[in-house]
């Protein structure tokens, strides 16, 4: 007779080794990345699941120990590639604050506008993939079609669509294209007309309501305990927006609301992101006409050496709070650079909120948490 071994996660016995396990991944038909979920099923119900990560580990934190601060920027691009600009900005802000450099106002405004454009593009891709996971295959194309307009703006100013490496400690690599303001305003007027279509197609749909209301409930205590930040946490009432609590760049001068909902289910997280898209557009509108003239970078030494010590910087990416903890020993490369990635914390709450649900709900919930796996594995 086989002895069934206990499956233990963190000293808590969750199941037996004779449970009916199926593997979801590492190759997903949905677009989340390489993640392996070992799901224990009982009929149609999920009892527990164990995520296995590390399939796309590239050693970014180790590589940072051999690169200078300006060379680290292109590595942070590739962590959460959908919020590439915000990752870059985190490193630059940390260096600038450590060296006590004052960046020109123009840089702050442009950085914030690009942040919000990036957030919009990321949420558009999330909407596209979320609809596709649930079976509404046309949402994929509508979301991506509109995202192309933002990517065209990026391509005109930076030369690349997704991984920009545009930030540089002290400012930007070069100035934005002269057409930047005009095209951003064109895009805003275009997208404001398209967003009601998104709502009509998916948000109001009764089938979508049934697939997402009441599914994957996450209480506020759970969100705080697991450190779920970003729109996923805000859907449960956890007020955690870094742009409000520790504002950086041009956020102090911008008026915007932090969208909170208290229901905590998939539908609430969905609505938070749709609201955030509108808020991003409002922020861009407030800033795009008022970009002050000036330099696109402050005067920096060619070789940057941070004084020995510990430094910390937080930014709000499209998925939550990215924090960088840096230990420097006075050289031109860091001694240790640690990234607190939002997706890492968001992933591990999946076990708690899908237990007891059906397997079809697993797809909806993991889509609503908006995970980007390279950020987890770094």
């Amino acid at each position: 007779m086989t002895m069934s071994e206990e499956i233990i996660i963190k000293d808590i016995i969750v199941g037996e080794s004779e449970d009916y396990m199926i593997n979801v991944g590492p190759q997903h038909p949905s677009t989340h990345g390489v993640l392996r979920l070992e799901v224990c099923l009982q009929g149609e119900t999920v009892k527990y699941l164990i995520p296995h990560i590390g399939y796309i580990h590239r050693g970014i934190e180790k590589m940072c120990e051999f690169d200078t601060y300006s060379q680290i920027i292109h590595l942070t691009d590739r962590m959460d590639y959908l919020s590439a600009h915000m990752n870059n900005e985190a490193v630059c802000l940390m260096v600038e604050n450590a060296l006590q450099v004052e960046v020109p106002e123009r840089v702050k405004y442009i950085r914030t506008i690009l942040d919000e454009l990036n957030r919009l593009a990321s949420h558009q891709l999330w909407w596209a993939a979320f609809g596709m996971d649930l079976g509404a295959l046309t949402t994929f194309f509508y979301g991506l079609r509109d995202r192309e307009k933002i990517l065209d703006i990026f391509e005109e100013s930076f030369g690349s669509r997704l991984l920009h490496s545009f930030n540089y400690p002290g400012g930007l690599m070069h100035d934005v294209h002269p057409n930047f303001q005009k095209r951003t305003k064109e895009f805003l007027s275009y997208f404001r007309k398209k967003l009601p279509e998104y709502n009509q197609l998916l948000t109001d749909n009764v089938i979508f309501h049934q697939r997402s209301k009441g599914i994957g409930y996450m209480s506020k205590e759970t969100a705080i305990a697991y450190g779920v930040t970003g729109p996923s946490g805000r859907g449960s009432g956890f007020s955690c927006d870094v742009r409000k609590y520790a504002p950086y760049s041009a956020y102090p001068v911008v008026k915007f609301e932090e969208k909170l909902r208290t229901e905590g289910d998939t539908f609430a997280r969905y609505l938070v992101r749709m609201d955030e898209m509108v808020e991003s557009m409002n922020i861009i509108e407030q800033l795009v006409d008022n970009i002050p003239e000036g330099d696109f970078t402050a005067k920096m030494r060619p070789v940057l050496k941070l004084p020995a010590g510990e430094y910390f910087q937080r930014v709000e990416t499209a998925r939550g709070e990215l924090a960088i903890y840096l230990v420097s020993d006075g050289n031109k490369t860091p001694y240790r650079m640690k990234f607190r990635s939002p997706n890492f914390s968001n992933l591990f709450v999946l076990n708690k909120i899908t237990a007891g649900g059906k397997i079809a709900d697993l797809v909806a919930v993991s889509g609503s948490l908006d995970l980007v796996i390279p950020d987890i594995d770094r």
Binding site: E156, S165, L202
Partner: protein, 160 residues
């Protein structure tokens, strides 16, 4: 009675929301003018990339086959993953002093991450972005490019 009323209300709401969604897709079905696909290989003649498009790194040569690279190697130092190798040699110049001259500027297109640090930090603005993006080859060694053209020389800038 209330439950029957709710039942009927649910059905009518459901039908209304479903019809709303169908109107959006139906609207796109009858407007093929909204098709956004670019017919790629056929439109190569009119396809123009933006000015700053990062297709590859090139060293611009002017009409006299002269470039601006002095062989200082700052791009090589700044490249994060070693995609650039600058080979120089010392030869005597017109005044008889030994001067460093570029022989080969090797660029590994297959390793480049397009971070742009080489273009930004070059003191002589010798490097720039090229607009070609069709780099597929069957043989990986073809992706190791030499940026300075054969027979080219340094364009001497007159110091004002």
């Amino acid at each position: 009675m209330n439950s029957i009323y709710n039942y009927i209300k649910d059905i009518l709401n459901a039908l209304r929301s479903l019809w709303g969604g169908m109107r959006i897709t139906g609207k796109y079905f009858i407007s093929p003018g909204q098709i956004v696909t670019e017919q790629y290989p056929e439109n190569r003649a009119t396809l123009k990339m933006t000015d700053r498009f990062k297709g590859e790194i090139i060293m611009p040569h002017d009409d006299n086959n002269q470039h601006r690279c002095t062989g200082c190697g700052i791009c090589e130092i700044n490249c994060p993953n070693g995609s650039i190798k600058v080979l120089t040699e010392r030869i005597p110049n017109e005044e008889g002093k030994m001067e460093r001259v570029l022989t080969q500027h090797i660029y590994h297109l297959d390793m480049c991450t397009f971070c742009g640090l080489c273009v930004k930090t070059c003191p002589s603005a010798a490097l720039d972005y090229g607009k070609r993006f069709e780099h597929s080859v069957f043989d990986r060694s073809k992706l190791t490019k030499t940026l300075n053209q054969p027979g080219s020389s340094l364009k001497k800038e007159k110091k004002v």
